[in-house]
Symmetry: D2
């Protein structure tokens, strides 16, 4: 505690989770998206964390799992089966895909749920089975689930009980492409996406491939043509074009903990210019708190959104006539996961979507 009494400022928010108006449960608090929810909620005026689950770490303090969270006054971790949801209003579900469907199915129907896994992102359960190698275990919940790309589906999210929070790649890709496809400014064929992600996207699981020695000072593509975010991206784009979109998508693993860039190569509709694309993205972003179209010619850097919920984007002429290059950057753990999840729950609870999310980017 501090020697000086707390003013009506951030601190009052932080210290008294239980006095906040909305009680939150974080399922899977021992992973990076879970801990990021906890970090971001520390200064949220209305959301207080009263339940945190982590089956393998049940009984431990969050500080023993994530020492950077030691400064907050938080409940200990419990097994999800032991969690008491009687006083909980909403949960963030940060669990692996597959098990998530069973767990959300078992939650009280009164709870608002934002699910950060992939389990409710694909409307077509057959497609889920194809890409995830197992049948969907909660098809009826799938019908109810709303896809949580806030800037695109704001109204639906406001009325949702279960929101499927988008993947990081799909967020960085759809934010610029959906408005441009809606306006028929770009062709939906031959969309080529070269994406680069920080390592935190792979989670905290101990895998040889994610060791410092295997990742530092190099780059490599992975999941070429087979990455599980492909159907999510194509679903989102196809909804706009009303015809099946097939994209070229190649993700790369980068030696950085946070950050994601999508470099998108598109064919403009005949007669359309890069200025047309720029003007349209300007209109789209003008009213968005978290989307920034940079000045013409300025290149977005992932470093400049680190730790924040912002998406920076810009569009450039290609040397090949009729083509354009779109670059968008986000922090994969914030706008690509936990930040957007809070943005969605803000809407679901009737608060301004930027509530508690105005963290500035951390640079350098």
């Amino acid at each position: 505690a501090c020697v000086v009494s707390a003013p009506k400022n951030l601190q009052s928010y932080e210290k008294n989770n239980l006095q906040k108006s909305i009680q939150i449960g974080v399922l899977g608090a021992s992973g990076y998206t879970g801990s990021e929810i906890v970090r971001l909620l520390a200064n949220h005026p209305y959301f207080g964390i009263s339940v945190m689950t982590a089956d393998r770490k049940a009984g431990q303090s969050i500080a023993s799992v994530f020492p950077h969270l030691i400064t907050q006054d938080l409940p200990n971790l419990v097994a999800v089966s032991d969690a008491d949801f009687s006083k909980v209003d909403a949960v963030f579900c940060c669990l692996p895909h597959g098990t998530t469907q069973d767990i959300i199915k078992a939650l009280p129907g009164s709870l608002k749920v934002v699910d950060l896994s992939a389990d409710f992102r694909l409307r077509d359960t057959a497609e889920y089975e194809e890409w995830y190698g197992q049948p969907h275990r909660a098809p009826e919940l799938q019908k109810e689930a709303v896809y949580g790309l806030t800037e695109i589906l704001r109204r639906e999210i406001q009325n949702a009980r279960l929101v499927a929070n988008p993947g990081c790649y799909p967020t960085s890709i759809q934010l610029p492409l959906v408005p441009l496809l809606k306006a028929n400014l770009i062709e939906y064929s031959n969309i080529i996406i070269d994406a680069k992600s920080g390592v935190s996207g792979a989670g905290r699981g101990a895998k040889e491939a994610n060791l410092y020695t295997e990742v530092a000072e190099g780059i490599h593509a992975y999941g070429v043509t087979r990455h599980r975010h492909v159907p999510e991206i194509e679903q989102g784009l196809s909804d706009v074009t009303e015809s099946k979109v097939t994209v070229s998508f190649t993700p790369h693993l980068m030696p950085m903990s946070r950050g994601m860039q999508s470099t998108i190569y598109v064919q403009m509709t005949s007669g359309v210019t890069v200025d047309d694309l720029y003007e349209h993205l300007k209109i789209f972003s003008e009213n968005e708190e978290f989307v920034f179209l940079l000045e013409k010619g300025v290149i977005p850097h992932t470093r400049n959104v680190r730790g924040s919920n912002y998406c920076y984007m810009n569009v450039f002429p290609d040397r090949i006539p009729g083509r354009a290059i779109i670059i968008s950057v986000i922090d994969n753990l914030v706008k690509g996961a936990s930040g957007q999840a809070i943005q969605n729950l803000n809407l679901m609870m009737g608060y301004p979507e930027n509530t508690g999310l105005l963290y500035q980017p951390l640079f350098p």
Copy 2:
């Protein structure tokens, strides 16, 4: 702007700098400590930035110099000579040593000043001349200056007009050592400090030695026995022991942008145990908002305070009987510079010192 109206939350702070009760000037806003002041003040309830100077970038927007600050509504950069201080209540001075003395001398005497340079840290102007190779240009101001190690000199800071903000190394070293020396628990002879710093401590100046290619994937000591933070450390420790302390201090440059660790090897006073040290640091830190003594045996990591104003510390038995090892970690740009500067101005202005500083550490 956001589609939803601003609630009484972070946003209201951010948007209307000019409506905040205290108007702030940031001198030298184009460097890392200056931009960090701007980042941290974004969510401060009372401090609003109305003047930012950067002589070589005068006329530019801060966003063109630091794109991560694009989200804030801030004045353009001006030359310090063109700055209008008529409506300014306090300034953070983030300029290089030397010139700083002249510039602060020229400021209206009514302004509260927190100086982040080394120009007013050494009470003995002869020592300043010895270590900085030039005579002190404002000896009278030096007499007035208060050393801004908040946890140690809180009362003096509350009444100060000009505060000399401590260096990053001296902060990480004095926070654990001053209480232990005060209590006569450790000897002041043979204090050996092996410190490790992130690269941002070297500033944003273009130097070959700080290129990515020269720093990544390696470590090296620098300024062995000659680092300019030595007299500041020895002044602080000597004040407590009331006899001249000479420390062994070896800083190392690390491949990380932020973060600082001091590993301190001390001789305990005869009869004193490591538990005695631990208990005393516990009492010291218990009432401190920003100082955390970790549980016994838990090792502080710089990553766990990144981006925050916290200092984590712990003490360990050495294999050599009678000796102990103290480890303290901070973010060199926050508790080691801009965060502590805001903590100090909060006190000087009569606000709780934690006001606007409760950013959680960013991990990973």
Copy 3:
């Protein structure tokens, strides 16, 4: 020296530069490509370094500029104007573009020259002027210059006196594309190249943009559509297709010191399959010492060629029917610069091109 007498092994090569059969001059030894030439030649059986120039560091030892070269017995740095070329057989020119043309023009015509700058890569001097903003200062030498992409122009290089060593991006891009275009297996329109480079490609000059703090933990594109390697790439591809090729080329700066990946998105000629591409690249690489086509499905990593002259490549099906994804990786300082330069001089001097170049990749 070693306590044991030197055997007929690596050491004998290293110690007696002057006794080696070919005497080498390194012009611009204080940059990264120059120091890499010196590193690689340490174990070359026939090439000995007798002259090293660096105008701003004239008089200094190479070890004072590059401490990692302290182990070799090398001459001190001299200004190029003071260099004695009377006993020199060949030079590697590692100077900035522009000045290079004057300096090579002034060299004795008897010297074999491998130029690592961009000054003699573009046959069309008008194109040089367009992209480099200054007229070509040695058009007659340009006529004589041979482009040094070893695997493609081996015979011409063997008979050349002046070789223009390719840029790093053009090397990684042309090695897979030239054979495929020659065989008419891919279309030359809509070739989209997303390239990623380590920071050493930017040289050792002190620039803010290349500071550790500006590069670490992030990625950004640069020189979008305007990178100076574009005309070199298009020249090389147009030579094969016999019609003007316009490529989409977007380079990205990565937080790694060495390494380069080009991810290339191509349209296959109608009826052609990815297997056809694979089989053709297999035939191309089978007889190449330094080009490896990985097993089907195996993704090249830049880490796996670090410090070596090898190029790893592979080809993958795209989700978009008729398209393929080609990935090639090199070390930008070795196969992308100094290693290929030595490979070329080996040929020019009648030695096997792999002589002294069989360094294994350094991993991790």
Copy 4:
């Protein structure tokens, strides 16, 4: 293969492992020290690899486990129990401690063995049991084992059959300290060692603590007072001083894959000066191929020995009268492991110890 016929140069070494005069087995080739042996031997004139074991990867090619080794013509991995040692002359044992004792015990007595594990480093088997928590399983072999710190025990190593290769920390620490203690230039009490290591020292095992996201952009101490290299260091120093030495040793994990620095704080014997230390280390290193004492005042950087078998060191005055600061740097995988192992086997086989080890440091 190369289009040009192979000269009597590096290549001939590489290609025909089986034609080399000494046949080598590498036990545990799927770890970092094993793969480093393979990398370094690629250009060794006399040592050819004919057996490589890796129980869990038995049947696979080394290239599938370490793609950077694809360029060499090597046998597939086999289980150690299936290995045919009939044609093998010597083995490098790169296995975990514990199992190593059983495996070496079971090897044909005719084989020369260099063991890179900790299993034979401690002469006192009781001490082994104390620090490794299990009884020594081959005490009789322990009697025969020679400690392989080449520069200090060269003669014993030349006549050894089983060499216990030193740990990385003990190598970097003993190389400067042993000569100084032998000459009574420093006190053996109050030796304080602050060491920093790259992550590869932790091996390739999948551990959460070694993930990129857990290691990048930060530093932390580990194993404070309890690191298993302590008894090895104290054994080596005590042998010289002929009285039990107790050191203060604090290792730190750094965000770098390779490299190790030991910063050593010592008390000089009364009347001794830093110049005396420097002159003595100069004499010690003058005849050593792999040990370099830098010019006075020049600070060793780990980057400058990366990938090489060199140790750079220097000595500096401390601010505390009578004390000195010694800094030594090595590549933990080369001089700290696999490079020194080859240096030792060279001696055991009667070859110059530098044979095949003259790789230059890789910088940047």
